[in-house]
Amino acid sequence: MANLKELSKKEEILTGGHRLCAGCGHGIATRMILNAVDDPVVVGCATGCLEVATTIYPYTAWRCSFIHNAFENAAATISGVEAAYRSLKKQGKLKENFKFIAFGGDGGTYDIGFQSLSGAMERGHNMVYVCLDNGAYMNTGIQRSSATPRGADTTTSPAGTVIPGKQQFRKDLAAIMADHHIPYVAQASPNNWKDLYNKAKKAFEVDGPAFINVMAPCPRGWRYNTPDIADIMRLAYETRYWPLFEVENGRWKLNYKPKKYVPVEEWLKLQGRFRHLFNPENRHIIDEIQAEVDRRWDMLLERCGEKKE
């Protein structure tokens, strides 16, 4: 594969001048993923920060064809684009090869767009679906989603005196997608750029649907110091909260095993949305989060055929 220096010379498909926040994971993840495609690409986008910050009419930050339809239908929309491609190719009306990718946030993917995503994956469209997971409905003002971590303070799961933040653990979407038995599923973090780049490359290359769940931190919603984004993305997998794995044709593979045990609170404490958990009366929530992280890690090791630590 290319090294970072070579990749940096490639013309960006998502150009600078978009209006994403400084320290937002969306731009970093999107640019890195699109670096892995060489054919012309059509990007579909669910309603969300990536869409509204990059396509403010009459401007666009996209050098490729881009379509936004609604919040919950990015996967169905790209299904239609890809079906049109197959039809026009078959009829000899189109010569070039195209790739297809849909981006959705966790709201548009785990929740309101889940049905459309599941349908598109089941039908086997040759497309890549990327969830830019920032763990809440950030574009509408930081409301909880089914990807929001337990204990997080959001505007619809506020940390109050009776209920200290979000009550449930997050949905494991990558596992659910793997159970669709599609050719390629992965979970990645932009901080490990090589890992993400390789996964994007594989996703574009497989024949059929591919799904990548990418951690995309949000400085507004997570309330971290902007330059800390790299540390946060790194600690997410060092603490095993956000393991890096892939599932190729049903075979699970762990891509990164932390060398030492880093407690999840190392990740939590960099983020304002978990600040209340560090009050003594909420200590038990951190313990519960740690227990759940450990439980899910053990399950993952088992799926990947790795020895329990």
Partner: protein, 393 residues
């Protein structure tokens, strides 16, 4: 060569779709539309069309995928009824606002609740402000003819709007009728090849579709959409003219049936117009000056033409197969009455809501409407502005 065949409404529409040979059809089954996509999927399975058939998991995705396909540069279609159309509602607006020339048959059916699979117009009337052109069809022949004309109307560069072609659920969709179908080659020549100017699968000239459009441009885009709907009027007539040359069958904004010298008249849509024509014939035989206006084009709304067509009528009834719950009649009534506002003469206009949930409308029902109109004509007065026809009260 054209030929006469016996087909149900659903078969006729599926036949039109086969001859149109769209690049993509994305659809989900719903009674009474289901048959259309079943017939069509057999055409796909037998290699009779070039279509990629996308068997989506819902009507919301059906319209979403159709939007994606049309945006990609393909001729794209779907079909639906009732709650399926309601589930598409959000995306209907997006299809129209992105100026995508999608054609969609809608087999009219009542909206829940209570659940009811039979005909009324609450579904398509609910979608009347979504920016789609709406063509209504009295029978299978008209549904077939409208489908073929719809492609040419939608894709006209002055229009570029999606078109809904409706027919009444079960009454037309499932009843066998004799109709004339056009030969494949003539349909192909009539609709021509689709060559969009801007589309996603153009590597030379990529585009951004569906951007964020704030107060600095959104209004202008809506204004352009309104202009396209205005342009659609001329295009609908142009296409009808060409279609007449091809088939001899005449279409306009509406059919004026014995309306020229009529003193009492009814405005009605779709299958019940056939029943009403029989009643008009009977009344004419009795020497009564009865007439009928069967509306074909509801969006754009041909208000000037309607007003001109009924200007000499003394009493007019607008029959609606849908309720708006505005307490001011059905969806056809209000704009018709408004269209007559500038007329100098004093036409009395009343509303009849009929046939909800598939309630039969029989000649006696329509005859009662004309009898009421006779009375209104003579007295210049009416008892009820809105009458619920054939309901137990």
């Amino acid at each position: 060569m054209n030929k006469r065949v016996a087909l149900t409404g659903n078969e006729a529409v599926a036949q039109a779709m086969k001859q149109i040979n769209p690049d993509v059809v994305a659809a989900y089954p719903i009674t009474p539309q289901t048959e259309i996509v079943q017939f069509f999927s057999s055409f796909v399975a037998n290699g009779q069309v070039d279509t990629e058939f996308v068997t989506v998991e819902s009507e919301h995705s059906a319209m979403s995928a159709t939007v994606g396909a049309a945006a990609a540069g393909a001729r794209a279609m779907t079909a639906t009824s009732a709650n399926g159309l309601a589930l598409m509602w959000e995306v209907l607006y997006i299809a129209a606002s992105n100026r995508l020339p999608i054609v969609m048959p809608v087999v009219n059916r009542a909206l829940s609740a209570p659940i009811n699979i039979h005909c009324d117009h609450s579904d398509s009337m609910g979608a009347r402000d979504s920016g789609w052109i709406q063509l209504y069809s009295e029978n299978a022949q008209e549904a077939y003819d409208n489908m073929i004309q719809a492609v040419k109307i939608a894709e006209n560069p002055k229009v570029l709007l999606p078109v809904m072609v409706t027919m009444d659920g079960f009454i037309i969709s499932h009843a066998l009728e004799n109709l004339e179908i056009i030969d494949d080659e003539s349909v192909k020549n009539f609709i021509g090849t689709y060559k969009p100017d801007h589309y996603l699968l153009n590597a030379e000239n990529p585009i951004t579709m569906g951007p964020l459009d704030l107060y600095d441009f959104y209004f202008e885009h809506k204004r352009q959409q309104a202009e396209a709907m205005k342009n659609a009027k001329d295009v609908i007539l142009e296409v009808a003219g060409e279609f007449k040359k091809l088939t001899g069958r005449e279409y306009g904004f509406f059919e004026a049936y014995k309306l020229d010298d009529a003193e009492i008249a009814v405005i009605i849509l779709n299958s019940a117009a056939g029943t009403a024509k029989d009643v008009v014939d009977e009344l004419r035989a009795q020497g009564k000056k009865a007439g009928l206006l069967k509306l074909r084009v509801f969006r754009p709304f041909p208000y000037e033409e309607i007003a001109a067509a009924v200007k000499n009528v003394k009493a007019l009834a607008v029959m609606d197969r849908a309720e708006t719950f505005s307490n001011f009649g059905g969806p056809v009534f209000a704009p018709v009455r408004s269209a007559l506002f500038d007329m100098k003469n004093d036409i009395k206009v009343v509303n009849y809501i009929y046939g909800l949930g598939g309630r039969d409308v029989v000649p006696e029902d329509v005859a009662r409407v004309y009898a009421d109109l006779e009375k209104i004509k003579e007295t210049g007065k009416y008892d009820n502005l809105i009458t619920y026809l054939g309901v137990r009260e």
